[in-house]
Amino acid sequence: MDTTLTRNFCIIAHVDHGKTTLSDRLLEYTHTVSQREMTAQHLDAMDLERERGITIKMHPVAMVYRAADGKRYKLNLTDTPGHVDFSYEVSRSLAACEGALLLIDAAQGVEAQTVANAHLAFAQGLKIIPVINKIDLPSANLELCMRQLEDILTIPAEEAILASGKSGIGIAEILEAVVKRIPPPRWTDYPATRVLVFDSKYDSYRGVISYARVFSGTIKAGDMIMLMSSGQKSEVKEVGAFHPAMAKGKELGPGDVGYIVINIKSTEDIKIGDTITHANRPAKEMLPGYKDVHPMVFCGLYPLEASDYEKLKVALGKLRLNDSALVYQAETSVALGFGFRCGFLGLLHMEIVQERIRREYGIEIISTYPSVVYRVKQHGAASVEVDNPVNMPDPATIEEIQEPTIRASIHIPNTYLGDMLNLVMEKRGVCEHTDTLDATRVMLTCLLPLNEILVDFNDRLKSITRGYGSMDYELGDYRASDLVKMDILVNGDPVDAFASIVHRSKAETQGRALCEKLAEIIPPQMFKIAVQAAIGAKVIARDNVREMRKDVTAKCYGGDITRKRKLLDKQKEGKKKMKQIGRVSIPPDAFIQVLKTNH
């Protein structure tokens, strides 16, 4: 099969730099879809991803392009999720290509996500075609963009194509560059079939549909295949391409991008990055780059209405069908009732899942403080991974606790450099270097504990920089750190939902803040109730719940006694619905309020 006329590429960009618009233009130019179809397709885009600054991941599209050399090329455009929480998934989508268009908004210049994505593309050995987009804008600064290309990304500026997705400038030039600069499909002559799975979707009619890139060999319906990561065998039910609608085909050959339906029930069974090969003529080596992804951030999710528990369970199950990176497990909390401990790839992934549960499934939920996964070395025992502070082993047995770190790339206007450095320091980070982006902006490369950016880092970054800063990060290694488990006690009894693992230097401040907030939100109590923060047996902060001043009926005579008795009974029943922390009855929403105000 001739693969010299096939090109596989993707577009990488910071959000809003015009990826969607440009993709649409490419599809129009190659007559893949009419303009009318385009709009319809895009109206489907989820608001959520847009708001959160991730372009929604669309399925791949095959285009046919008649190039200047007179030949008809098959161009496969794959999409990437575009956020580093999903960097592994991004890397697998990139691995399905030989080249990438790197889009830069001419008015914004290089931003955090541009850098992160460019690095990922380099790492996959892709040919990068820089495109300076939106040159129609009066504020376009081409010179600056060119310089940033060279200085920050080390890409020769003369390679840049000037374009505008909106005005249709540079589209032909881009397509020519795709054909000329991006090499044809690689590794086609490997002596066995190897197909890369770079995404899967669950479809209620057809089951699991995997997006795949064939590197060598062919695959068709009826083939017995093997998933190389697990050795699991299965039969292919259907293969096809995207035109852009799914079109059933006879087979997929080397260099092709398309879809494969195999006989499995859940997206969990087919891992992103896995290699499909033939069961009876298997490849010896998998395609490079496969990794088992593990969730990095955990939190408890609880329905606000206990009766929504089943609904939440169903929602998580459905989300998981399309998102195998999401893990969850039932758990109960004294303070919050029945819920789930959920694991996410990162902060954004966590937010998206929570938001989708709220919006798409209409369930009100509350989340506990997020936690990272700690590695705990114990004396004379194997090291354990702890993703829930409640499971932290007895401090006496602990030799060392390690926490995950990140390497953050932070882009900010240079006037805010001082404040930003203070924030990084406050968050126990170190700034490795600063690079000047242009006359007004700098890029900081910082090493930070992942745990420190979980709660308010991004908000603080935005507020320090009046909204002009942006950050992206990649996971770094685990490092030993002086971490402790801090318990929050109400009247001497621990409240599980508020246990946290914190750096010793921060325990007191955080403990005090939490105690104050809880003491303020818990309604006045008849008994003196202390709220304490403690590390092991040592109390490091305390506050008192307000004492109930007056709760007495003025009039209570014969006629009132039935009424009064009913009222007291009602109050007693009401107390049963409250959360009992030892002797103290606390309205369920008190904890929720504290969790809310702290997020």
Partner: protein, 396 residues
């Protein structure tokens, strides 16, 4: 400490009789009692209903040891109507109650009515003064003036009722501590035998409640607490000993009728909305004149919120309502009275309250709330209810 008339000393068990007179000239803003403005022959029909209801009660050989006419405004009845109601009270042989209270609004106190009440044998008049300050009376939607209060009080004193009580209300919107102290001082100056001071209560379905929910008035728990404390101190110093959250008496003037209900003795309530605790049952009449007439006509009474008086219920209520009294309750005596109740939990609950400084457990087993405990008596009640876990079962 206040001396308590002992109920046990007599062979005759106390029996209270309460008449609810459901008529008022207009509705006060804070009022949650069942009352209506009397129209047409409503009063005459009411009196017939009272006669009919009294005939439904299985009195046996029992006599009312105490009586209380409340409302509403019993004083709204004409002298002849009062006489007729009195006849219902005295219909059975066994004589007059030892203590017989009638509530009167200042505007209804007239020589004729007083004469009729004296003749019937009423021993005690309770007058709803509420405040001596025109602005506050106005704010409460009360239809009387300070001048009417003084005139009424003089008439009552001249008629030589053995006991006169004045009702006052505090923590009114717009009332500061000084204004309240002035009301207290004025009340004390008149030297009534008994004083009831009520913290303004926001009851559902009252005009005041509506104002509260509209944000036109504000609840201030701290202010209420402070007013309570000041009142207790002030009246104690003025010679009025507190014997219940809202009640104070000069020596010998404690209201026995109320004391008996707090001690979970028996009482029979007649009239719409009146509650009874009698013959092993507790229940109330419907708070509506026509529903009440219907029920009486069908030969039934006290059917609302009907519960059987189990030992658990009586034990819990004896403590809950008993602790509202300064004297408190005698735990061993109650234990002897209701041995089947879950006393272990109850006693450990009392001890916990003691640890927290809300209650005193004396060596004789007398349990009394401290000042701080009295201010949160409802929360204490709920705590006790939990200990007893004796929710009264509704009877189908």
């Amino acid at each position: 400490m206040v001396e308590l008339p002992s109920g046990q000393a007599k062979a005759e068990p106390p029996l209270g009789v309460y008449f609810h007179v459901p008529f008022c000239a207009s509705t006060c803003d804070f009022c949650a009692f069942y009352q209506t403005v009397p129209k047409g022959n409503a009063v005459a029909r009411y009196l017939e209903g009272m006669e009919a209801e009294a005939s439904l009660v299985e009195w046996g050989a029992r006599r009312a040891t105490t009586a209380f006419w409340g409302g509403g405004t019993p004083g709204l009845l004409q002298p002849a109507q009062l006489l007729r109601l009195g006849a219902v009270m005295l219909a059975r042989d066994g004589g007059r109650p030892d203590e017989w209270t009638v509530e009167l609004a200042p505007a209804t106190v007239s020589p004729n009515r007083i004469a009729v009440l004296r003749e019937l044998g009423v021993t005690r008049v309770s007058m709803g003064v509420q405040s001596f300050q025109p602005a506050l009376l106005e704010a409460l939607g009360r239809r009387h003036t300070p001048a009417q209060i003084y005139r009424a009080y003089d008439l009552l004193r001249a008629a030589d009722f053995p006991s006169v009580n004045l009702d006052l209300i505090f923590a009114l919107p717009g009332q500061d501590e000084e204004a309240w102290r002035a009301d207290l001082a004025e009340a004390v100056r008149l030297r009534p035998d008994h004083l009831s001071t009520y913290c303004l209560t926001f009851e559902e379905d009252t005009a005041l409640w509506i104002k509260l929910s509209q944000g036109r008035v504000r609840l201030d728990v701290e202010k209420e607490a402070v007013f309570y404390e000041r009142t207790w101190d002030y009246l104690e110093a003025a010679g009025y000993a507190q014997y219940e959250i809202s009640n104070f008496a000069r020596s010998g003037h404690i209201c026995r009728h109320n004391l008996n209900t707090w001690r979970m003795e028996e009482w029979i309530g007649l009239g719409p909305s009146a509650a009874s605790q009698f013959g092993g049952w507790r229940g109330a009449n419907p708070p509506d004149l026509s529903l009440w007439h219907e029920q009486i006509a069908s030969g039934r009474r006290a059917q609302n919120d009907r519960v059987r008086l189990t030992p658990e219920l009586l034990a819990a209520d004896s403590i809950i309502f008993g602790l509202r009294m300064n004297a408190g309750v005698n735990v061993p005596a109650l234990q002897a009275c209701y041995p089947a109740a879950p006393w272990t939990e109850a006693v450990s609950c009392l001890r916990r309250l003691e640890d927290e400084g809300l209650l005193l457990l004396e060596s004789g087993g007398q349990a009394r709330l401290t000042k701080r405990g009295r201010l949160v008596a409802d929360a204490v009640g709920v705590e006790m209810l939990e200990a007893f876990a004796a929710t009264a079962r509704d009877i189908p």
